[in-house]
């Protein structure tokens, strides 16, 4: 393995890892308030397609990213948050509905944008550090979105564990009845943070379209959202910082195929593409195998409204 291969692999890992990281972060926030967002894939698709449409029409990548995130948040609000939190419909059914609507709607409105080149972001070079061998390009010569994503993870962790408001959110996830008894506005906060989580997931999709791939195509997320979902389970509920490492590892596996093809090695790309998904399944199995001491969050999946 020469230097180009390793440098390329690390770079590909960062590029593919950021969308997964954002998706996992959004899902982790949603789980903090006790709602599993299995519609993650659909929300991500909506974020991607809306970002592509907005960016293509305005010619500005930043406007596209913001548009994608906001649109995906709104989509998540309508198709998942309201049916789940307010109308108390069955969680998994609603989540799949959200996914399916995301696939259908994004494909339909994105038909005329298939394969169009999107405006891109300039890379920010951090002096000196970006010249480091191997890790320079992967970590210190990146578009702003990479730094923003990492900052968002750190900020979320600080927010959840170091602020009063974050404590409330964790309380909802841990015991909804106790939270309600303390006078926390459970329904309102759930709605708000599931929607916020959706917007972050959508930002992941937007970054995937604009930064990582530079284009929109039908079903472009390719189950990356579900990888993010699996990552949240594997890392363990309520843990935010370790998502960084996990997302990077998934990014590494997602990037392998491209690097190998660029090198012209004779391995079927399909088998390389399978790696992250097989790894995710194995990780889930291994995670369940080891004895657990984590705090159980009893309110996960419990409707937010009091029995009437």
């Amino acid at each position: 393995m020469n230097e180009t291969v390793i440098t390329g692999l690390l770079l590909a890992a960062t590029v593919s890892g950021v969308p997964v990281l954002l998706a996992a972060l959004g899902e982790a926030i949603s789980e903090q308030v006790g709602v599993k967002n299995l519609g993650i894939e659909g929300v991500m698709l909506m974020g991607a397609v809306l970002a592509a449409i907005v960016a293509h029409n305005t010619g500005n990548a930043w406007v596209g990213l913001v548009g994608g995130a906001l649109g995906a948040g709104a989509f998540n609000f309508v198709t998942l948050a309201v049916p789940n939190v307010v109308l108390r419909a069955e969680e998994t059914v609603v989540a799949f509905a959200c996914w399916f609507i995301g696939i259908g709607l994004s494909t339909m409105i994105g038909v005329s944008y298939n394969g169009k080149t999107l405006p891109s972001l300039e890379k920010i070079e951090i002096p000196l550090l970006s010249d480091l061998p191997y890790i320079g390009p992967a970590f210190f010569h990146q578009p702003a979105t990479t730094y923003v994503a990492i900052a968002m993870v750190l900020a979320t962790s600080w927010f959840l564990y170091r602020t009063r408001h974050g404590l409330k959110l964790r309380a909802i996830g841990r015991d909804i009845d106790a939270a309600r008894a303390c006078g926390i506005a459970v329904t309102r906060l759930r709605l708000a943070y599931v929607t916020l989580g959706g917007a972050i997931i959508g930002l992941g999709g937007a970054v995937l379209a604009i930064v990582a791939l530079g284009t929109w195509e039908t079903n472009l997320t390719g189950f990356r959202g579900f990888l993010g979902f699996a990552l949240v389970i594997v890392v363990g509920r309520g843990r935010i910082i370790p998502l960084l490492l996990g997302a990077y590892l998934f990014g590494l596996l997602l990037g392998v195929s491209g690097v190998v093809q660029a090198q012209g090695w004779d391995v079927s790309p399909e088998f390389l593409d399978m790696l992250p998904y097989i790894a995710a399944v194995l990780a889930l199995i291994v995670q369940a195998w080891r004895p657990r001491r984590r705090l159980r969050r009893r309110a996960a999946g419990v409707p937010a409204l009091a029995e009437s």
Partner: protein
């Protein structure tokens, strides 16, 4: 420890077949007899489908390129012509099997979201058999291919099923992720070992399999009905019988209704979970071979067109009742045929999924299990109408 692990999982689908849910609303149905209750369920589901279709039509009508001609094409593609009806019948069989596969796992309290992957692996196994024994006579080859499909699908679900049953790993995520692996497996075979470069159909395809392996069709009037339809209905009935008359089926239903009760009643919970998922996966594998030897005629990308996911809608509309899957599958087949006809207006096939999602939301909101006000008032309205109708129907007897 395993009880600990399962208590924190997401809520499970309510097992169907019974008008489940709050007693206040269903006690009336008991006195009015099964008819009113069945009618009410059906009316509720039809309302759900209509709501989904209406929202869908509204969204589709906003798309460029949709005009009056589009809607007339939809009519011709579904009821309007004999070929339309034939295509609905053809679409029904995979959807019915897919719905039965989803319903089987739902009745045991689990979600098998991996039917899409199982159908690919089933079709792959079937193709491998057809390539190995191309000369088997008469019905033997299709029979062997069908069995191969069942085995392929069942084997594909074994890892997630074992992980779910014995380790408590969320089967939703694992079966889902494996779908993508199966799709890549398909791409590998149709671009690599089995590639057919001259294939002109939709997507990539493998070499065609021999005609011996194909299922035959009957023509009644101008309408074509395949053997596949009969197979699908027979499987649905057989599965229904399994759940109605065998201890295994009873254990599954008990487990789906209440895990703890099942445990105290001495049901081997892990084993029951495992086998119900394997049964579901086997039926999922059958979906793939049925599509293949009924009309696609080869192992191709075109096999994986969301049929496995549409099965969720079939099962949800049927409330996981195995007999209810039959009308629900016809309904969803109609939708698929309509969506196929929409393609001339440049509307992608994925629109079916959008409609599916809208209906699933509507079904979940109005489901008896959910305690919201909207669903409750809709149910009350429907109940009033259906009770009145069924009373009227029995009026002569009562007097």
């Amino acid at each position: 420890m395993s009880a600990d692990a399962t208590a924190a999982r997401m809520p499970r689908p309510s097992p169907g077949g019974r008008p489940s849910g709050s007693q206040g609303e269903t006690s009336g149905a008991a006195s009015a007899g099964g008819l009113a209750s069945g009618l009410r369920q059906a009316a509720l589901r039809i309302a759900v489908v209509l709501a989904g279709v209406l929202v869908g039509i509204f969204i589709i009508a906003l798309q460029p390129g949709v005009d009056a001609g589009t809607w007339s094409a939809v009519w011709h593609g579904t009821f309007g012509t004999a070929s339309g009806i034939s295509s609905v019948v053809q679409l029904t069989s995979p959807l019915l099997l897919s719905g039965v596969a989803a319903a089987v796992s739902a009745r045991a309290g689990m979600w098998n979201i991996g039917v899409e992957g199982q159908l690919v692996m089933g079709a792959w196994a079937g193709t491998a058999i057809a390539f190995t024994f191309p000369d088997l006579p008469g019905p033997w080859l299709p029979a062997l291919v069908l069995i191969g499909g069942v085995v392929g699908g069942a084997l594909w679900v074994v890892p997630p099923a074992a992980a779910r049953a014995y380790l408590g790993v969320n089967e939703v995520v694992t079966t889902l992720l494996l779908n993508f692996v199966a799709t890549l497996w398909l791409v590998y075979w149709v671009t690599g070992p089995w590639a057919d470069t001259s294939f002109q159909g939709a997507g990539l395809g493998a070499r065609p399999i021999t005609d011996n392996a194909m299922l035959s069709h009957w023509t009644i009037g101008d309408v074509t009905i395949g053997v596949s339809f009969v197979i699908a209905v027979v499987i649905a009935l057989a599965t229904w019988a399994v759940f109605r008359y065998t201890p295994f089926g009873y254990r599954c239903t008990l487990l789906g209704a209440d895990q703890r009760t099942a445990r105290y009643a001495g049901v081997d919970v892990a084993r029951t979970r495992f086998y119900s998922l394997v049964l579901s996966g086997g039926i999922g594998g059958l979906v793939g071979v049925i599509v293949m030897i009924d009309h696609v005629q080869r192992f191709t990308i075109a096999l994986s067109t969301y049929t496995g996911y549409l099965g969720l809608l079939v099962a949800a509309l049927a409330s996981a009742s195995l007999l209810g899957c039959i009308p629900a599958a016809v309904l969803v087949a109609l939708l698929s045929a309509a969506a196929g006809a929409l393609r001339i207006a440049g509307i992608p096939a994925e629109v079916t999924l959008m409609l599916t999602g809208l209906m699933l939301i509507a079904a979940a909101i109005t489901d008896v299990g959910s305690g919201n006000q909207v669903g409750r008032s809709i149910r009350r309205g429907v109940a009033r109408v259906t009770t009145a109708v069924s009373r009227e129907g029995r009026g002569g007897d009562a007097a």
